[in-house]
Protein backbone atom coordinates (compact mmCIF):
# COMPACT_ATOMS: atom_id res chain seq x y z
CA UNK A 1 0.00 0.00 0.00
CA UNK A 2 1.28 3.40 -0.87
CA UNK A 3 2.72 5.70 1.78
CA UNK A 4 -0.07 8.21 1.49
CA UNK A 5 -2.75 5.55 1.74
CA UNK A 6 -1.11 4.15 4.85
CA UNK A 7 -0.93 7.62 6.33
CA UNK A 8 -4.63 8.14 5.73
CA UNK A 9 -5.56 4.90 7.44
CA UNK A 10 -3.35 5.82 10.33
CA UNK A 11 -4.96 9.23 10.42
CA UNK A 12 -8.43 7.72 10.50
CA UNK A 13 -7.48 5.50 13.41
CA UNK A 14 -5.44 8.04 15.30
CA UNK A 15 -8.22 10.61 15.13
CA UNK A 16 -10.53 8.20 16.90
CA UNK A 17 -7.89 7.70 19.56
CA UNK A 18 -7.36 11.42 19.90
CA UNK A 19 -11.09 11.99 20.13
CA UNK A 20 -11.42 9.60 23.03
CA UNK A 21 -8.47 11.13 24.80
CA UNK A 22 -9.85 14.59 24.31
CA UNK A 23 -13.17 13.64 25.89
CA UNK A 24 -12.40 10.91 28.38
CA UNK A 25 -8.79 11.81 29.13
CA UNK A 26 -7.77 8.21 28.65
CA UNK A 27 -5.60 6.56 26.02
CA UNK A 28 -7.63 3.68 24.74
CA UNK A 29 -5.26 0.76 24.11
CA UNK A 30 -8.23 -1.21 22.81
CA UNK A 31 -8.69 1.16 19.90
CA UNK A 32 -6.46 -1.07 17.80
CA UNK A 33 -8.56 -4.04 18.81
CA UNK A 34 -11.68 -2.32 17.51
CA UNK A 35 -9.84 -1.75 14.26
CA UNK A 36 -9.00 -5.41 14.05
CA UNK A 37 -12.54 -6.46 14.93
CA UNK A 38 -13.85 -4.16 12.24
CA UNK A 39 -11.69 -6.00 9.74
CA UNK A 40 -12.79 -9.43 10.93
CA UNK A 41 -16.45 -8.40 11.04
CA UNK A 42 -16.24 -7.06 7.50
CA UNK A 43 -14.80 -10.36 6.34
CA UNK A 44 -17.53 -12.23 8.18
CA UNK A 45 -20.30 -10.16 6.64
CA UNK A 46 -18.85 -10.58 3.16
CA UNK A 47 -18.70 -14.28 3.86
CA UNK A 48 -22.39 -14.41 4.74
CA UNK A 49 -23.63 -12.15 1.99
CA UNK A 50 -21.61 -13.61 -0.87
CA UNK A 51 -24.11 -13.24 -3.65
CA UNK A 52 -25.45 -9.73 -3.25
CA UNK A 53 -23.73 -6.93 -5.08
CA UNK A 54 -22.43 -4.04 -3.07
CA UNK A 55 -21.69 -6.47 -0.28
CA UNK A 56 -18.42 -4.76 0.42
CA UNK A 57 -20.12 -1.51 1.36
CA UNK A 58 -22.67 -3.38 3.41
CA UNK A 59 -19.82 -5.13 5.19
CA UNK A 60 -18.00 -1.89 5.86
CA UNK A 61 -21.02 -0.21 7.37
CA UNK A 62 -22.03 -3.36 9.22
CA UNK A 63 -18.57 -3.71 10.67
CA UNK A 64 -18.49 -0.12 11.82
CA UNK A 65 -21.92 -0.49 13.38
CA UNK A 66 -21.05 -3.79 15.02
CA UNK A 67 -17.90 -2.42 16.57
CA UNK A 68 -19.74 0.70 17.67
CA UNK A 69 -22.30 -1.40 19.47
CA UNK A 70 -19.59 -3.43 21.14
CA UNK A 71 -17.88 -0.24 22.23
CA UNK A 72 -21.12 1.10 23.59
CA UNK A 73 -21.81 -2.02 25.59
CA UNK A 74 -18.31 -2.06 27.03
CA UNK A 75 -18.52 1.58 28.01
CA UNK A 76 -21.99 1.33 29.52
CA UNK A 77 -21.49 -1.88 31.42
CA UNK A 78 -17.88 -1.69 32.49
CA UNK A 79 -15.79 1.28 31.62
CA UNK A 80 -18.01 3.96 33.13
CA UNK A 81 -17.47 2.52 36.60
CA UNK A 82 -13.80 3.32 36.40
CA UNK A 83 -14.19 7.01 35.65
CA UNK A 84 -13.61 8.18 39.20
CA UNK A 85 -10.70 5.86 39.69
CA UNK A 86 -7.10 6.65 38.96
CA UNK A 87 -6.17 6.96 35.31
CA UNK A 88 -3.89 3.97 35.63
CA UNK A 89 -6.90 1.70 36.26
CA UNK A 90 -8.64 2.98 33.15
CA UNK A 91 -5.54 2.43 31.06
CA UNK A 92 -5.10 -1.07 32.42
CA UNK A 93 -8.73 -1.83 31.65
CA UNK A 94 -8.25 -0.89 28.03
CA UNK A 95 -5.15 -3.10 28.00
CA UNK A 96 -7.19 -5.97 29.45
CA UNK A 97 -9.61 -5.44 26.58
CA UNK A 98 -6.74 -5.80 24.13
CA UNK A 99 -5.87 -9.15 25.65
CA UNK A 100 -9.45 -10.38 25.77
CA UNK A 101 -10.59 -9.13 22.39
CA UNK A 102 -7.40 -10.33 20.74
CA UNK A 103 -7.94 -13.87 21.92
CA UNK A 104 -11.66 -13.68 21.19
CA UNK A 105 -10.83 -12.85 17.58
CA UNK A 106 -8.31 -15.65 17.46
CA UNK A 107 -10.90 -18.04 18.81
CA UNK A 108 -13.57 -16.95 16.35
CA UNK A 109 -11.52 -16.57 13.21
CA UNK A 110 -8.34 -18.55 13.76
CA UNK A 111 -4.81 -17.47 13.04
CA UNK A 112 -4.72 -17.83 9.27
CA UNK A 113 -4.57 -14.66 7.27
CA UNK A 114 -7.91 -13.65 5.80
CA UNK A 115 -8.61 -11.22 3.03
CA UNK A 116 -11.47 -9.44 1.37
CA UNK A 117 -11.54 -8.50 -2.26
CA UNK A 118 -11.92 -5.00 -3.44
CA UNK A 119 -15.40 -3.75 -4.25
CA UNK A 120 -16.07 -4.25 -7.93
CA UNK A 121 -16.80 -0.59 -8.28
CA UNK A 122 -13.25 0.32 -7.43
CA UNK A 123 -11.37 -2.42 -9.18
CA UNK A 124 -8.39 -1.62 -11.27
CA UNK A 125 -6.36 1.50 -11.41
CA UNK A 126 -4.86 4.12 -13.63
CA UNK A 127 -1.36 4.77 -14.74
CA UNK A 128 0.51 7.84 -13.64
CA UNK A 129 4.22 8.47 -14.17
CA UNK A 130 4.86 4.85 -14.98
CA UNK A 131 3.22 3.36 -11.84
CA UNK A 132 -0.27 2.02 -11.47
CA UNK A 133 -2.36 3.69 -8.82
CA UNK A 134 -5.29 1.56 -7.70
CA UNK A 135 -8.63 3.33 -7.66
CA UNK A 136 -9.24 1.93 -4.22
CA UNK A 137 -6.24 3.69 -2.81
CA UNK A 138 -7.41 6.94 -4.31
CA UNK A 139 -10.78 6.33 -2.71
CA UNK A 140 -9.12 5.93 0.68
CA UNK A 141 -6.91 8.96 0.26
CA UNK A 142 -10.01 10.95 -0.56
CA UNK A 143 -12.45 9.52 1.96
CA UNK A 144 -10.21 9.13 4.95
CA UNK A 145 -9.75 12.82 5.59
CA UNK A 146 -13.36 13.47 4.53
CA UNK A 147 -14.68 11.26 7.27
CA UNK A 148 -12.36 12.71 9.84
CA UNK A 149 -13.20 16.22 8.68
CA UNK A 150 -16.86 15.40 9.11
CA UNK A 151 -16.24 14.34 12.66
CA UNK A 152 -14.20 17.43 13.37
CA UNK A 153 -16.88 19.70 11.96
CA UNK A 154 -19.40 17.96 14.12
CA UNK A 155 -17.26 18.61 17.14
CA UNK A 156 -16.56 22.25 16.45
CA UNK A 157 -19.70 23.48 14.72
CA UNK A 158 -22.57 21.65 16.33
CA UNK A 159 -24.17 21.95 19.73
CA UNK A 160 -23.41 18.33 20.43
CA UNK A 161 -19.79 18.90 19.64
CA UNK A 162 -19.70 21.86 21.96
CA UNK A 163 -21.04 19.75 24.76
CA UNK A 164 -18.41 17.13 24.09
CA UNK A 165 -15.66 19.67 24.29
CA UNK A 166 -17.16 21.16 27.42
CA UNK A 167 -17.30 17.73 28.99
CA UNK A 168 -13.62 17.32 28.27
CA UNK A 169 -12.82 20.50 30.12
CA UNK A 170 -15.14 20.23 33.07
CA UNK A 171 -17.28 17.19 33.47
CA UNK A 172 -18.87 18.19 36.76
CA UNK A 173 -19.93 21.57 35.50
CA UNK A 174 -21.63 20.06 32.52
CA UNK A 175 -23.35 17.55 34.76
CA UNK A 176 -24.60 20.35 36.95
CA UNK A 177 -25.95 22.13 33.90
CA UNK A 178 -28.22 19.19 33.29
CA UNK A 179 -26.55 17.67 30.27
CA UNK A 180 -26.58 13.91 30.31
CA UNK A 181 -22.87 13.40 30.50
CA UNK A 182 -23.16 9.66 30.81
CA UNK A 183 -24.78 9.15 27.42
CA UNK A 184 -22.50 11.74 25.93
CA UNK A 185 -19.50 9.69 26.91
CA UNK A 186 -21.12 6.53 25.64
CA UNK A 187 -21.89 8.20 22.37
CA UNK A 188 -18.36 9.44 21.92
CA UNK A 189 -16.96 6.05 22.75
CA UNK A 190 -19.24 4.49 20.15
CA UNK A 191 -18.28 7.06 17.57
CA UNK A 192 -14.60 6.48 18.18
CA UNK A 193 -15.07 2.72 17.98
CA UNK A 194 -17.08 3.11 14.78
CA UNK A 195 -14.22 5.05 13.23
CA UNK A 196 -11.79 2.33 14.19
CA UNK A 197 -14.11 -0.40 12.95
CA UNK A 198 -14.68 1.38 9.68
CA UNK A 199 -10.96 1.83 9.15
CA UNK A 200 -10.49 -1.86 9.84
CA UNK A 201 -13.16 -2.79 7.33
CA UNK A 202 -11.76 -0.50 4.67
CA UNK A 203 -8.24 -1.81 5.03
CA UNK A 204 -9.18 -5.41 4.30
CA UNK A 205 -8.78 -5.28 0.50
CA UNK A 206 -5.31 -3.85 0.81
CA UNK A 207 -3.90 -5.69 3.80
CA UNK A 208 -4.43 -9.16 5.10
CA UNK A 209 -6.37 -9.67 8.32
CA UNK A 210 -4.08 -11.25 10.88
CA UNK A 211 -3.86 -11.52 14.65
CA UNK A 212 -1.44 -8.90 15.87
CA UNK A 213 -2.77 -6.17 13.62
CA UNK A 214 -4.38 -4.64 16.69
CA UNK A 215 -1.11 -4.17 18.53
CA UNK A 216 0.75 -3.09 15.42
CA UNK A 217 -1.64 -0.28 14.64
CA UNK A 218 -2.11 0.98 18.19
CA UNK A 219 1.59 1.56 18.70
CA UNK A 220 1.71 3.58 15.50
CA UNK A 221 -1.41 5.49 16.51
CA UNK A 222 0.13 6.32 19.89
CA UNK A 223 3.20 7.75 18.24
CA UNK A 224 1.06 9.81 15.89
CA UNK A 225 -1.11 11.35 18.58
CA UNK A 226 1.88 12.15 20.74
CA UNK A 227 3.65 13.84 17.85
CA UNK A 228 0.57 15.69 16.73
CA UNK A 229 -0.73 16.48 20.18
CA UNK A 230 -3.26 14.53 22.19
CA UNK A 231 -6.73 15.81 21.45
CA UNK A 232 -5.81 17.96 18.47
CA UNK A 233 -7.45 17.18 15.14
CA UNK A 234 -4.92 18.83 12.86
CA UNK A 235 -2.17 17.48 15.02
CA UNK A 236 -3.37 13.98 14.26
CA UNK A 237 -3.46 14.76 10.56
CA UNK A 238 0.03 16.19 10.33
CA UNK A 239 1.27 13.62 12.80
CA UNK A 240 0.15 10.82 10.50
CA UNK A 241 1.76 12.44 7.50
CA UNK A 242 4.96 13.09 9.41
CA UNK A 243 5.02 9.54 10.74
CA UNK A 244 4.86 8.14 7.24
CA UNK A 245 7.59 10.44 6.03
CA UNK A 246 9.93 9.75 8.94
CA UNK A 247 9.41 6.05 8.51
CA UNK A 248 10.31 6.11 4.81
CA UNK A 249 13.14 8.56 5.43
CA UNK A 250 14.43 6.36 8.21
CA UNK A 251 14.42 3.37 5.91
CA UNK A 252 16.48 5.32 3.41
CA UNK A 253 19.01 6.84 5.75
CA UNK A 254 19.38 4.16 8.40
CA UNK A 255 18.07 1.00 6.81
CA UNK A 256 17.14 -1.15 9.72
CA UNK A 257 16.74 1.79 12.02
CA UNK A 258 13.43 3.04 10.73
CA UNK A 259 11.76 1.51 13.77
CA UNK A 260 14.15 3.35 15.98
CA UNK A 261 13.56 6.65 14.22
CA UNK A 262 9.83 6.88 14.89
CA UNK A 263 10.27 6.11 18.57
CA UNK A 264 13.15 8.54 18.72
CA UNK A 265 10.90 11.18 17.18
CA UNK A 266 8.25 10.42 19.78
CA UNK A 267 10.83 10.80 22.55
CA UNK A 268 12.18 14.04 21.14
CA UNK A 269 8.73 15.57 20.92
CA UNK A 270 7.95 14.54 24.50
CA UNK A 271 11.19 16.01 25.72
CA UNK A 272 11.09 19.24 23.81
CA UNK A 273 7.40 19.89 23.29
CA UNK A 274 5.33 17.33 25.18
CA UNK A 275 2.01 18.75 24.10
CA UNK A 276 2.86 17.84 20.53
CA UNK A 277 3.09 19.96 17.43
CA UNK A 278 -0.48 21.21 17.62
CA UNK A 279 -1.55 20.59 21.17
CA UNK A 280 -2.25 23.14 23.85
CA UNK A 281 0.83 23.92 25.94
CA UNK A 282 0.63 22.26 29.33
CA UNK A 283 3.34 24.27 31.03
Amino acid sequence: MGGLTAAMFLFLIASGLSLIFGVLRVLNFAHGSFYMLGAYLAWQIVHWVTTATGHFWLAAIGAAAGVAILGGVIERCLFRYLYDREELYQLLFTYALVLILGDAAKFAWGTEQLSVSRPSLLNGGFEILGTIVPYYNVFIIATGPLIALGVWLMLTRTGLGRMVRAAALDREMLDALGANVGWLYTGMFMLSSALAGLAGALVTPIQGIVPGMDVEIIVQAFIVVVIGGLGSFWGTFWGSVLYGQVLSFGILVFPGFSLFSVFALMAVILIVRPWGLFGRPIR
Binding site: V98, D103, A267
Partner: protein, 325 residues
Protein backbone atom coordinates in the same frame (compact mmCIF):
# COMPACT_ATOMS: atom_id res chain seq x y z
CA UNK B 1 -1.90 -9.74 66.10
CA UNK B 2 -0.97 -7.36 63.37
CA UNK B 3 1.83 -5.99 65.53
CA UNK B 4 3.10 -9.50 65.96
CA UNK B 5 3.04 -9.98 62.22
CA UNK B 6 4.96 -6.77 61.76
CA UNK B 7 7.76 -7.92 64.04
CA UNK B 8 8.47 -11.12 62.14
CA UNK B 9 11.57 -10.71 60.01
CA UNK B 10 9.74 -11.67 56.87
CA UNK B 11 12.68 -11.26 54.58
CA UNK B 12 14.59 -13.87 56.54
CA UNK B 13 11.60 -16.19 56.82
CA UNK B 14 10.88 -16.07 53.11
CA UNK B 15 14.55 -16.63 52.38
CA UNK B 16 14.76 -19.70 54.58
CA UNK B 17 11.56 -21.16 53.21
CA UNK B 18 12.63 -20.55 49.63
CA UNK B 19 15.99 -22.11 50.40
CA UNK B 20 14.37 -25.47 51.06
CA UNK B 21 12.78 -25.84 47.65
CA UNK B 22 15.58 -27.71 45.85
CA UNK B 23 15.54 -30.31 48.63
CA UNK B 24 11.77 -30.70 48.62
CA UNK B 25 10.84 -30.54 44.98
CA UNK B 26 12.19 -31.80 41.72
CA UNK B 27 14.03 -29.90 39.04
CA UNK B 28 10.80 -28.45 37.70
CA UNK B 29 10.02 -26.75 40.99
CA UNK B 30 13.50 -25.33 41.25
CA UNK B 31 13.14 -24.00 37.72
CA UNK B 32 9.81 -22.39 38.56
CA UNK B 33 11.15 -21.02 41.82
CA UNK B 34 14.10 -19.42 40.06
CA UNK B 35 11.78 -17.74 37.62
CA UNK B 36 9.52 -16.52 40.41
CA UNK B 37 12.42 -15.16 42.43
CA UNK B 38 13.76 -13.20 39.45
CA UNK B 39 10.39 -11.78 38.46
CA UNK B 40 9.67 -10.93 42.09
CA UNK B 41 12.69 -8.67 42.15
CA UNK B 42 11.65 -7.13 38.86
CA UNK B 43 8.14 -6.46 40.17
CA UNK B 44 9.43 -5.12 43.49
CA UNK B 45 11.66 -2.72 41.62
CA UNK B 46 8.70 -1.45 39.61
CA UNK B 47 6.71 -0.98 42.77
CA UNK B 48 9.29 1.45 44.07
CA UNK B 49 8.01 3.66 41.28
CA UNK B 50 4.39 2.62 41.11
CA UNK B 51 3.28 1.87 44.64
CA UNK B 52 5.72 3.96 46.63
CA UNK B 53 6.30 7.09 44.55
CA UNK B 54 3.18 7.01 42.40
CA UNK B 55 5.09 7.04 39.12
CA UNK B 56 3.41 5.05 36.38
CA UNK B 57 6.14 3.71 34.14
CA UNK B 58 5.23 1.80 31.00
CA UNK B 59 8.82 1.29 30.07
CA UNK B 60 10.32 -0.53 33.03
CA UNK B 61 11.22 -3.55 30.95
CA UNK B 62 13.90 -1.45 29.27
CA UNK B 63 16.05 -1.72 32.40
CA UNK B 64 15.35 -5.41 32.74
CA UNK B 65 16.57 -5.80 29.18
CA UNK B 66 19.58 -3.53 29.53
CA UNK B 67 20.67 -5.47 32.61
CA UNK B 68 20.22 -8.75 30.76
CA UNK B 69 22.16 -7.63 27.70
CA UNK B 70 24.87 -5.96 29.78
CA UNK B 71 25.52 -9.04 31.84
CA UNK B 72 25.10 -11.38 28.90
CA UNK B 73 27.48 -9.46 26.66
CA UNK B 74 30.06 -9.12 29.42
CA UNK B 75 29.94 -12.79 30.27
CA UNK B 76 29.49 -14.35 26.85
CA UNK B 77 31.21 -12.01 24.44
CA UNK B 78 33.90 -10.67 26.74
CA UNK B 79 34.33 -13.58 29.09
CA UNK B 80 33.98 -11.46 32.21
CA UNK B 81 33.29 -13.52 35.34
CA UNK B 82 29.88 -13.24 36.94
CA UNK B 83 30.93 -11.55 40.15
CA UNK B 84 32.12 -8.57 38.09
CA UNK B 85 29.52 -8.72 35.33
CA UNK B 86 26.57 -8.76 37.71
CA UNK B 87 27.29 -5.55 39.63
CA UNK B 88 28.51 -3.93 36.41
CA UNK B 89 25.19 -4.75 34.80
CA UNK B 90 23.36 -3.14 37.69
CA UNK B 91 25.46 -0.02 37.57
CA UNK B 92 25.30 0.20 33.80
CA UNK B 93 21.54 -0.07 33.90
CA UNK B 94 21.49 2.56 36.62
CA UNK B 95 23.33 4.90 34.33
CA UNK B 96 20.76 4.45 31.58
CA UNK B 97 17.96 4.91 34.10
CA UNK B 98 19.61 8.11 35.28
CA UNK B 99 19.82 9.53 31.77
CA UNK B 100 16.38 8.43 30.62
CA UNK B 101 14.90 9.30 33.98
CA UNK B 102 16.28 12.82 33.85
CA UNK B 103 14.05 13.53 30.88
CA UNK B 104 11.10 11.52 32.11
CA UNK B 105 10.70 13.20 35.51
CA UNK B 106 10.30 16.56 33.85
CA UNK B 107 6.89 15.31 32.78
CA UNK B 108 3.90 14.07 34.69
CA UNK B 109 1.09 11.57 34.35
CA UNK B 110 0.35 10.35 30.85
CA UNK B 111 3.26 12.23 29.31
CA UNK B 112 5.67 10.67 31.77
CA UNK B 113 4.25 7.25 30.99
CA UNK B 114 4.49 7.84 27.24
CA UNK B 115 8.11 8.94 27.44
CA UNK B 116 9.07 5.90 29.49
CA UNK B 117 7.38 3.83 26.79
CA UNK B 118 9.18 5.68 24.02
CA UNK B 119 12.58 5.12 25.64
CA UNK B 120 11.72 1.50 26.24
CA UNK B 121 10.84 0.97 22.59
CA UNK B 122 14.02 2.75 21.52
CA UNK B 123 15.97 0.28 23.63
CA UNK B 124 14.00 -2.55 22.06
CA UNK B 125 14.61 -1.24 18.54
CA UNK B 126 18.33 -0.97 19.20
CA UNK B 127 18.51 -4.45 20.72
CA UNK B 128 16.52 -5.79 17.82
CA UNK B 129 18.70 -4.29 15.16
CA UNK B 130 22.22 -3.95 16.48
CA UNK B 131 23.42 -7.30 15.21
CA UNK B 132 27.05 -6.80 16.09
CA UNK B 133 26.56 -6.14 19.76
CA UNK B 134 23.21 -7.55 20.77
CA UNK B 135 22.87 -10.24 18.18
CA UNK B 136 19.91 -8.46 16.63
CA UNK B 137 16.81 -10.54 16.21
CA UNK B 138 18.86 -13.67 16.84
CA UNK B 139 19.72 -12.41 20.28
CA UNK B 140 22.46 -13.71 22.52
CA UNK B 141 22.00 -17.43 22.98
CA UNK B 142 24.08 -19.60 25.30
CA UNK B 143 24.95 -17.11 27.94
CA UNK B 144 27.20 -19.12 30.22
CA UNK B 145 26.37 -20.06 33.78
CA UNK B 146 28.68 -18.58 36.37
CA UNK B 147 31.24 -20.86 37.90
CA UNK B 148 29.37 -22.39 40.80
CA UNK B 149 31.25 -25.64 41.42
CA UNK B 150 32.22 -24.50 44.86
CA UNK B 151 28.64 -24.89 46.01
CA UNK B 152 28.97 -28.62 45.59
CA UNK B 153 31.69 -28.67 48.19
CA UNK B 154 29.36 -27.22 50.84
CA UNK B 155 28.06 -29.83 53.31
CA UNK B 156 24.69 -31.15 52.18
CA UNK B 157 24.86 -29.43 48.83
CA UNK B 158 26.90 -32.00 46.96
CA UNK B 159 24.07 -33.59 45.00
CA UNK B 160 22.92 -30.39 43.37
CA UNK B 161 23.40 -29.68 39.69
CA UNK B 162 23.97 -26.36 38.02
CA UNK B 163 20.27 -25.51 37.81
CA UNK B 164 19.87 -25.83 41.57
CA UNK B 165 23.19 -24.12 42.23
CA UNK B 166 22.11 -21.17 40.16
CA UNK B 167 18.84 -21.07 42.08
CA UNK B 168 20.75 -20.68 45.32
CA UNK B 169 22.87 -17.93 43.86
CA UNK B 170 19.87 -16.12 42.45
CA UNK B 171 17.96 -16.52 45.69
CA UNK B 172 20.76 -15.07 47.79
CA UNK B 173 21.32 -12.15 45.43
CA UNK B 174 17.62 -11.40 45.10
CA UNK B 175 17.09 -11.56 48.84
CA UNK B 176 19.93 -9.14 49.41
CA UNK B 177 18.27 -6.78 46.93
CA UNK B 178 14.91 -7.29 48.59
CA UNK B 179 16.37 -6.51 51.99
CA UNK B 180 17.90 -3.37 50.57
CA UNK B 181 14.59 -2.33 49.03
CA UNK B 182 12.82 -2.99 52.31
CA UNK B 183 15.32 -0.82 54.11
CA UNK B 184 14.97 1.89 51.52
CA UNK B 185 11.21 1.97 51.69
CA UNK B 186 11.07 2.27 55.47
CA UNK B 187 13.75 4.93 55.54
CA UNK B 188 13.21 8.69 55.60
CA UNK B 189 13.97 8.70 51.89
CA UNK B 190 11.21 6.18 51.31
CA UNK B 191 8.85 8.23 53.45
CA UNK B 192 9.51 11.29 51.32
CA UNK B 193 8.72 9.23 48.22
CA UNK B 194 5.32 8.37 49.64
CA UNK B 195 4.57 12.04 50.17
CA UNK B 196 5.24 12.58 46.49
CA UNK B 197 2.78 9.83 45.69
CA UNK B 198 0.15 11.17 48.05
CA UNK B 199 0.28 14.78 47.04
CA UNK B 200 2.96 16.03 44.72
CA UNK B 201 2.10 19.66 45.15
CA UNK B 202 2.06 19.49 48.92
CA UNK B 203 5.30 17.57 48.98
CA UNK B 204 6.94 20.40 47.07
CA UNK B 205 5.63 22.79 49.62
CA UNK B 206 7.03 21.01 52.58
CA UNK B 207 10.35 21.38 50.88
CA UNK B 208 10.71 18.31 48.71
CA UNK B 209 12.60 18.73 45.46
CA UNK B 210 10.15 16.43 43.75
CA UNK B 211 12.04 15.96 40.51
CA UNK B 212 15.25 15.03 42.25
CA UNK B 213 13.58 12.45 44.44
CA UNK B 214 11.69 11.00 41.52
CA UNK B 215 14.91 10.72 39.55
CA UNK B 216 16.57 8.98 42.48
CA UNK B 217 13.70 6.52 42.74
CA UNK B 218 13.77 5.98 38.98
CA UNK B 219 17.48 5.22 39.02
CA UNK B 220 17.30 2.87 41.99
CA UNK B 221 14.35 1.06 40.45
CA UNK B 222 16.33 0.79 37.24
CA UNK B 223 19.34 -0.69 39.03
CA UNK B 224 17.29 -3.42 40.69
CA UNK B 225 15.46 -4.14 37.45
CA UNK B 226 18.87 -4.46 35.85
CA UNK B 227 19.93 -6.98 38.48
CA UNK B 228 16.82 -9.04 37.84
CA UNK B 229 17.44 -8.87 34.11
CA UNK B 230 21.05 -9.97 34.50
CA UNK B 231 19.94 -13.02 36.44
CA UNK B 232 17.23 -13.73 33.92
CA UNK B 233 19.63 -13.69 30.99
CA UNK B 234 21.61 -16.48 32.57
CA UNK B 235 18.58 -18.40 33.77
CA UNK B 236 16.99 -18.21 30.35
CA UNK B 237 20.22 -19.43 28.75
CA UNK B 238 20.13 -16.42 26.49
CA UNK B 239 19.01 -12.85 26.00
CA UNK B 240 16.58 -12.05 23.24
CA UNK B 241 14.98 -8.86 22.03
CA UNK B 242 11.40 -9.91 22.61
CA UNK B 243 12.03 -9.83 26.33
CA UNK B 244 12.40 -6.07 25.98
CA UNK B 245 9.10 -5.58 24.19
CA UNK B 246 6.60 -3.31 25.90
CA UNK B 247 4.14 -6.10 26.57
CA UNK B 248 6.59 -7.33 29.19
CA UNK B 249 6.26 -3.98 30.92
CA UNK B 250 2.54 -4.62 31.04
CA UNK B 251 3.12 -8.12 32.43
CA UNK B 252 5.26 -6.92 35.29
CA UNK B 253 2.80 -4.14 36.04
CA UNK B 254 0.00 -6.68 36.24
CA UNK B 255 2.11 -8.79 38.59
CA UNK B 256 2.65 -5.79 40.82
CA UNK B 257 -1.00 -4.86 40.93
CA UNK B 258 -2.19 -8.44 41.24
CA UNK B 259 -0.13 -8.89 44.35
CA UNK B 260 -1.00 -5.48 45.68
CA UNK B 261 0.99 -2.31 45.21
CA UNK B 262 0.20 -0.95 48.66
CA UNK B 263 2.06 -3.70 50.43
CA UNK B 264 5.78 -4.34 50.31
CA UNK B 265 5.48 -8.05 49.53
CA UNK B 266 2.56 -7.56 47.16
CA UNK B 267 4.58 -7.56 43.93
CA UNK B 268 6.49 -10.67 45.00
CA UNK B 269 3.23 -12.45 45.72
CA UNK B 270 1.89 -11.28 42.38
CA UNK B 271 4.99 -12.53 40.58
CA UNK B 272 4.63 -15.94 42.18
CA UNK B 273 0.91 -16.25 41.49
CA UNK B 274 1.13 -15.06 37.93
CA UNK B 275 4.12 -17.22 37.06
CA UNK B 276 2.49 -20.32 38.45
CA UNK B 277 -0.84 -19.53 36.82
CA UNK B 278 0.92 -18.92 33.52
CA UNK B 279 2.70 -22.26 33.69
CA UNK B 280 -0.46 -24.10 34.59
CA UNK B 281 -2.77 -22.47 32.11
CA UNK B 282 -0.49 -22.46 29.10
CA UNK B 283 -0.23 -26.21 29.43
CA UNK B 284 -3.99 -26.50 28.88
CA UNK B 285 -4.77 -23.77 26.43
CA UNK B 286 -3.19 -21.24 24.15
CA UNK B 287 -5.58 -18.53 25.27
CA UNK B 288 -3.45 -17.24 28.13
CA UNK B 289 -3.94 -13.59 27.10
CA UNK B 290 -7.67 -14.04 27.52
CA UNK B 291 -7.18 -15.42 31.02
CA UNK B 292 -4.75 -12.67 31.90
CA UNK B 293 -7.14 -10.03 30.61
CA UNK B 294 -9.98 -11.48 32.66
CA UNK B 295 -7.85 -11.60 35.79
CA UNK B 296 -6.93 -7.99 35.20
CA UNK B 297 -10.56 -6.96 34.81
CA UNK B 298 -11.46 -8.80 38.03
CA UNK B 299 -8.60 -7.08 39.78
CA UNK B 300 -9.62 -3.64 38.63
CA UNK B 301 -13.27 -3.97 39.51
CA UNK B 302 -13.31 -6.26 42.50
CA UNK B 303 -9.87 -6.34 44.10
CA UNK B 304 -8.10 -3.05 43.39
CA UNK B 305 -5.80 -3.66 46.32
CA UNK B 306 -4.61 -6.92 44.84
CA UNK B 307 -4.12 -10.12 46.78
CA UNK B 308 -2.46 -8.48 49.76
CA UNK B 309 -5.12 -5.81 49.78
CA UNK B 310 -7.85 -8.42 49.84
CA UNK B 311 -6.09 -10.33 52.60
CA UNK B 312 -5.70 -7.14 54.60
CA UNK B 313 -9.35 -6.24 54.19
CA UNK B 314 -10.44 -9.75 55.10
CA UNK B 315 -8.24 -9.71 58.18
CA UNK B 316 -9.64 -6.36 59.31
CA UNK B 317 -13.18 -7.61 58.89
CA UNK B 318 -12.36 -10.74 60.85
CA UNK B 319 -10.93 -8.67 63.66
CA UNK B 320 -13.99 -6.45 63.81
CA UNK B 321 -16.26 -9.41 63.91
CA UNK B 322 -14.24 -10.93 66.70
CA UNK B 323 -14.24 -7.75 68.73
CA UNK B 324 -17.97 -7.25 68.15
CA UNK B 325 -18.88 -10.80 69.04
Amino acid sequence: MKNLAARVPWTLVVFLLALTIPWLGGRYYTFLATQIVIYALFALSLNLLLGVTGLVSFGHVAYFGIGAYFCGILMKTLGVPFFIAFPAAGLGTGLFALVFGYFCVRLTKIYFAMLTLAFSQIVWAICFKWNDVTGGDQGLPDVPFPDLHWIASLPGFSHFRIGDQFYFLALVLVMLCVAALRRLQSSPFGRVLTTIRENRERAAFVGVNVRRYELAAFTVAGIFAGFSGALFGIFNRGVFADYVFWSKSADVMIMTILGGMNHFWGPAVGAAVLTILNQQITSYTEYWPFVLGTILVLLLFVFPGGIMGALDAGWTRLRHRRSNA
